[in-house]
Symmetry: C2
Subunit: 245 residues, 2 copies
C-alpha cells in the first residue's frame, strides 16, 4: 500500500471485556467528513490479509474513503498463533460457526469497533458502509440487523445450504431485519454454498433496495469487473447519503 | 418514435411456407455496417408493442444501431384479429406453449428473418445481438442454440417452474447449446416464474460468459436502471465483436 497516500493505524476496541483487534486505513490528508467502509474478511483470513488490504487501498487511494477491518472470531490476533496458518484457522472457524452464539458476539464486536471509530478525535467519519463476502456476510448480517448507522452494504457468497441449522435460523432472522440498500453476490459453481441456498438467503433480506448478481466460477472467483462494480455501488451509495454521526 | 432519426420498415420473411411478419427500425442515415439487435417480444404483446418499439428507439437514436422484431406465434399479424386484445392473445399463447414444437417453429422463423435482414441490399448488417425477456427467452434460446451469427444476448424472466414438462425439456436442451455471451435477468417476486426456477434455467446455459441479475419486483417490474444497464451490456458486447456476414 502506498504509504504516501494511505495511513494505517491499529486500534483495539473493548466489547463485553473482550479486546477486539482492528486496523484503520485513512487518507494521509483528510479534510471534512470521510466516508468509512467496514470490511468483514473471509473465513481463514484476517484483518491484514490481501483481500481486505487491497480493498482498503482502492477505497482510500481512488475514492478518498477510510476503511477498517477487525479480526473475526478465532482469526488473526484473536489467536495466540497470530492466525497465519489458513488451514488451522479454517478448521477452527468451521467448528466455531456451528455455535450460533458466535454471530451475536461478533456483532457486538463490530458495534464496539464502530463506536470507537466514530469517537476518534482527529478525523470525522462520514457515511458508513459495510463490505463482507462469505464469512463477512455471516457476521455482517447480525451486525447490520441492529445497526442503522450503516447506510449501504456489499454482501454475498453465503447461503442456507452449507450452514448448520441453528446458525441458519439466526442468520435468516437477522437478514429479515436488515434495511440498508445492498448488493448481494453469488458464484454459480460455489463449492461451499450452492447458488439455490444463496438465493434463499437473498430472499430473506427484508430491505427493498437490493439486487443479486450471479457470476460463473467457484467460491473465490468473483470476476474482477464484478468486484470493481461492487466498489462503485458502495461508493456511489455512500456519496448519496448523509453521515451517521 | 422520432421519424427524423428512425426509419421504420415492414418486412415479410418466408419460413417453411409460413409468412413471418416483421418490423425493421434503421437509422435514417447509415454508412458502413450497422449492428443489429433482434427483439423477441413478450407474451400477449406483438412486434409493434410499446416494449419493442421503445427499445428499438433507444438502440437506433442513442447508439446508431438497427433493431428488428417479428410477431410471436399466435401474436400480432399472425392472427386474423391483429393481436390487439392482450387477454385473448395470452390465453392462446399459454395453450400454444404446451406444445414444445412451437419452439422449433419459431426458431425457424427467426433464422428466416435474419437471413432476409442480412440479404437486404441497401444497408449492411454489422454484429448481431438478441434481446428477449419472458416469451422472448422461451423462443430465443432454441433460436440461439442453432445460430452462431448472434454474438451477444439479453435474456431472462423465464424458468423451469411455470413451464410444461415437455416444453421445459426442449428449452433446457436448447440452453445447453447456447454459446454467446449473455446477461440473464430475474425478478425476485416474479408471479409467473419463481426465481429458483429461473436460476435453474440460467444454470442450464452452457456459455461460460454469462451473468444473472436478480432484482426486487414482479414479472413486469424490471427496474429502469437494470434495463438501461442491459442495453449498455448488449451495445458494448456488439461493439467489441465482428460482423456476422
Amino acid at each position: 500500500m502506498d504509504e504516501q497516500l494511505v495511513t494505517e493505524r491499529s486500534f483495539r476496541a473493548q466489547a463485553d471485556g473482550r479486546e477486539v483487534p482492528g486496523t484503520l486505513w485513512l487518507p494521509t490528508s483528510v479534510s471534512g467528513p470521510v466516508p468509512l467502509v467496514l470490511i468483514g474478511h473471509g473465513g481463514s483470513q484476517h484483518k491484514g490479509s490481501a483481500g481486505p488490504r487491497e480493498l482498503a487501498g482502492v477505497l482510500v487511494r481512488d475514492h478518498g474513503f477510510a476503511a477498517a477491518a477487525i479480526d473475526g472470531p478465532v482469526h488473526g490476533e484473536r489467536r495466540s498463533d497470530g492466525g497465519l496458518d489458513p488451514a488451522a484457522v479454517f478448521a477452527d472457524h468451521r467448528a466455531d460457526i456451528e455455535h450460533p452464539g458466535s454471530l451475536a458476539t461478533m456483532a457486538t464486536d463490530w458495534h464496539a469497533a464502530l463506536d470507537l471509530l466514530l469517537g476518534m478525535s482527529d478525523w470525522t467519519v462520514g457515511p458508513v458502509g459495510y463490505w463482507g463476502l462469505s464469512m463477512g456476510t455471516l457476521y455482517g448480517l447480525p451486525f447490520l440487523a441492529r445497526e442503522d448507522r450503516v447506510r449501504a452494504a456489499v454482501l454475498g457468497l453465503w447461503g442456507s445450504a452449507g450452514t448448520a441449522p441453528d446458525t441458519w435460523a439466526v442468520l435468516a432472522s437477522a437478514a429479515s431485519a436488515v434495511r440498508c440498500p445492498l448488493l448481494f453476490l453469488a458464484q454459480l459453481e460455489d463449492q461451499l454454498f450452492a447458488p439455490a441456498g444463496v438465493l434463499e438467503l437473498f430472499t430473506e433480506l427484508a430491505c427493498c433496495d437490493k439486487r443479486m448478481h450471479v457470476n460463473v466460477g467457484l467460491h473465490g472467483e468473483v470476476p474482477a469487473d464484478e468486484h470493481a462494480g461492487a466498489v462503485t455501488f458502495l461508493v456511489d451509495r455512500l456519496r448519496q447519503t448523509q453521515p451517521a454521526a
